[in-house]
Symmetry: D2
Subunit: 336 residues, 4 copies
């Protein structure tokens, strides 16, 4: 770390800072600059206490980190990794992975109709929420286990793998017994208890980015899962919260390129949550493919206007089929 | 709800929208304006499906909600409520409530020293984290149950009530057996499983605002706790995430006034998290008092530079004592 | 507009609101809903006063706009428009427009070297700042008119059209006498005096989106230029300010699709400002092309490490040539 | 500056970076840490080129600034300064300064009524916009010079000083000939041409914080004015843009404490713009006073519901009189 000392600090105060840095286990190296002194604190920042606490000293102007905070997720440690979900490899150099299905599982008819349609269009994984994190307790909270059973039935018929969200630690075993890919939603993106519990199931994890999560924090949340010994983590960019109100969230597509550069984990994009408007989904899918995302997670419903949750961002079966046709040439360009 | 139809939409398309509104259980009332038609959908929005799903229809320009989404938390339903914690009433018209203590419980000595000092300065509740939600898995995660035992010992000696965070559903019973006030942290502010589990313990809940949570969403998260039959919810403003980097978060003090106007729940302020800098805490406390917050939650450590977590935002024992002396006249002005 | 009245408001108070709506020139239509009353105010919102002022009445809960606020910029009024710059048509259905050049004009050698290289790689317009809006007064402020003369010389030699920023009303005539496309920068995106003055020059305008500008506000800023009788406005998405710190700005690529849907104006993307990091520019360009942007504005410098401004986001000549080669197949896919 | 080099960079690449740092005029000091090497670049950052351009080198991980970027505005250079406006001293240790008046000057009757009332309640400066920066060109743009004449007439009758906004460089002389305090609005907060022109008038400047302006950028905008030789700059916090939609802006009250700590300039607060809702203004005023703001700028209108601009955030004459009475004890506490 680098401790920046305020200009005009007397030398005995500087010495006290140097002594404290040493006391906290770092080797202090003072550097006297043109205007002020900085102290470089030599030591592994991931195994020592943060020196940001020195900001409470009136002579300290700022404390700057030097090292990256993530290790297991870092691209420095290894090449791009591949995560297998229901037999499908996902990651750099692997086939593009299309995941699609309704926001919520509502009924056998709704789910089976959608499953058959997305399979026919080219999806390999079926998404569908059985446990739904809704902003209001008065909104539909998902079918629960009956919803999971419907997903399993859809898998049995279509062969599609299952992606579904787990909301509660106590449900991890239950959901993991049905799912091929366990989704941690944006609202739980820093619910470390849930992330660790989900990781311990040894199922692959789909880790959505939180609404106001910096990329560094996202990779550190992945680090929690990786630290539990589960290497199968897929990152999912799904939009961040900004001042813009035209869209529900602002899809941060640069984050796809960054996450793939900083980490070795596969990165997919959820354009449905990412904008909250069905009419923008196809265009955003093209951009995500062009940016080398490893897959897409798309909300599809037979009749969006009558969906029990988030109808406004779901495309219908026909639109999904057109969408896949439209993005196909982009996929071929990026993954020939 | 109000469905705004695009200008120049043919009347048969308008009729289809009207029919769909009726099909979804609302009574449609079309209003023909100067430029475009809107359809007022008569019906209780909290018991019907959202019509935002109609945005998937190309003729629909926007859908506007009319009703507030929270009921139990709403000020419309009742007068300001009082929550009792360890015998101390908190709320409008009650004595100002001072909660203070270290970010993390680190040791008996650290905790007891702090507890005695904050008690002497005027605090009535002792805060201290035994389970810590840390951005990185390599940072100190809290002492766990031994930390809770230390908090209980501090209560036994000083008589201070205990405020501490619960991170995991499975720990709710354990933490509730020690705590007088169960804190739900900002990262779990939309972890509805945890909120419901905590509420079911019947302990009072301190619900921090999430980093990117709109006030409406904060009140809806409180609604989850209230819906479980636990009326003892205290809201805590602790800063939101913005583009500003001088402070760790941007303390949204207007939110205190708004939360007290929109809801009947007590509202307290955490200035330590709210700015992330010890040197700003006293000033922010004055402002929070002036804005009629019902209490403060302040991080205090005997030696902040050597704290195991968030040292930069903790004030030392002497500074806390001065802080209390400085805010006292403001408290007397607001709560004579 | 729709005026939402609070539940339980007595009918005489409702009548007072209705009367005030009429007094303000609208025809009021009360609608009695399940829980509360709303008043639809019939009248053209663009020629009447906003009724948001009624929020000062304690019985009024909210006021909702119905109409779009922009007219001349709106897609409703006309088909996609084409703007010609130095003989090059820009817009939907036109050839993709590549604009490139240094952040600042620094010297004849720097500019001519860059101009020749970007021309060779396929650019048709040369960008370069002669007047620079710098955050600090101690940073390089641009060469001024000598910089404009260098741009003109580069045009004379290479045939490239010139894009350059104007910062001050008093400089509009001067800059317009050299430029083919007058740039209004992000910091001046709501400097309406400058926008109007620039529009009156009758030169085409490149209107960058402001750092915290909603899309609606961006289109309304364009409306200021269009209202002056200058139809040649090109929108430029260049990233918005968010909490993320890995990138300088968050490029809002969905805004490209939205701006092209809501307005008839051409939309281009500045990926250099959009992320502030040279290593992300190529990937973002691909995404912008895929999203049907009409062009790109890219910062290129012969030696970015020694650039006088924003070196970190400029690609070198070789990287630019590779970039153009890499995005070419995407352009052919979108504009066959 | 500190250049952080990526781990595992070969020593000859490190040497190239060291050489480039020297070439750019700094004295390089490499420091070999536990995991990676950093190069401290010794030299005055305000007179040398930024080394952030080195980020284009693949071996450079990050570049960290050490020095503050503002000098004339910095508290390091001098004690708290006092700005005199129409004979009233504003700043630390001076009487609290109350500025009030309508958003826009609409008519003689409206302005005189307001002026008399705010004077009677205790205001010493009269605010009122004659040139209005409106989001839409179809909204009221201000009366222009006739509005200024009305302000002058109000000053003649009441003795109140005049605060009014200038929008265009060409209007600076005109507005300065009427105003006692020249306001630079939030949308022009980085319109450096206007700031410099206004500063050259030698009138005191009220510099509002921009909607998405970091505190550092705000002080650097002030630095532009100070650099023109005009020491009379007052900072005005007026809310920043965030995701919250309950309020128009999020008033960043911590910024008041920070601006007073980092700079010597007086700091006032505009709670009207700061929240955009008349019903919150009084509470926010109390908080601003408690935080040691040097004054308040409050929008007051005889009949807010019929105001020509921003009626929803203006308090009426009676409310203003009550507001002043309510904040008086807080003022006495802070400035006894």
């Amino acid at each position: 770390m680098i401790i920046v000392i305020k200009p005009h600090t007397p030398s005995d105060s500087v010495q006290r800072i140097i002594d404290e840095v040493a006391k906290l286990g770092y080797e202090p190296k003072p550097i006297h600059g043109a205007v002020q002194t900085v102290v470089a604190a030599i030591g592994d920042e991931t195994t020592h206490q943060s020196l940001e606490s020195l900001l409470t000293w009136p002579e300290v102007e700022s404390v700057l980190r030097v090292q990256k905070r993530y290790k297991l997720a870092s691209r420095e440690t290894r090449d791009a990794s591949t995560v297998h979900v229901a037999g499908h490899p996902i990651g750099t150099g692997q086939p593009f992975c299309l995941m699609a299905g309704p926001c919520s599982v509502e009924s056998e008819d709704q789910l089976m109709t959608t499953a058959r349609a997305v399979k026919a269009a080219g999806a390999v994984l079926l998404r569908g929420g059985a446990f739904k994190p809704r902003t209001s307790p008065y909104e539909f909270q998902g079918l629960g286990e009956p919803g999971l059973k419907l997903l399993a039935a859809a898998r049995a018929e279509t062969g599609l793998g299952i992606v579904t969200e787990v909301l509660a630690e106590r449900d991890v075993d239950l959901v993991a017994s049905y799912a091929d890919l366990l989704q941690i939603g944006a609202r739980n993106a820093q619910n470390f208890s849930l992330i660790k519990e989900a990781a311990r199931s040894q199922k692959p994890i789909l880790l959505k980015r939180g609404l106001s999560m910096k990329i560094e924090e996202w990779l550190l949340a992945a680090e929690y899962a990786l630290s539990e010994g589960n290497p199968n983590v897929i990152l999912c960019e799904r939009g961040i919260r900004t001042f813009e109100t035209y869209t529900r969230n602002t899809l941060d597509l640069a984050a796809v390129a960054i996450a793939k550069k900083e980490s070795h984990l596969p990165v997919v994009v959820d354009p449905s949550q990412g904008c909250g408007r069905a009419d923008l989904v196809t265009e955003l899918c093209k951009a995500a493919v062009a940016l080398a995302a490893d897959g897409l997670l798309i909300e599809v419903h037979p009749c969006p206007a009558e969906a029990w949750s988030d109808g406004q961002q779901q495309v219908d079966l026909n639109a999904f089929s057109n969408l896949v046709r439209e993005i196909q040439p982009f996929i071929q360009l990026v993954r020939p």
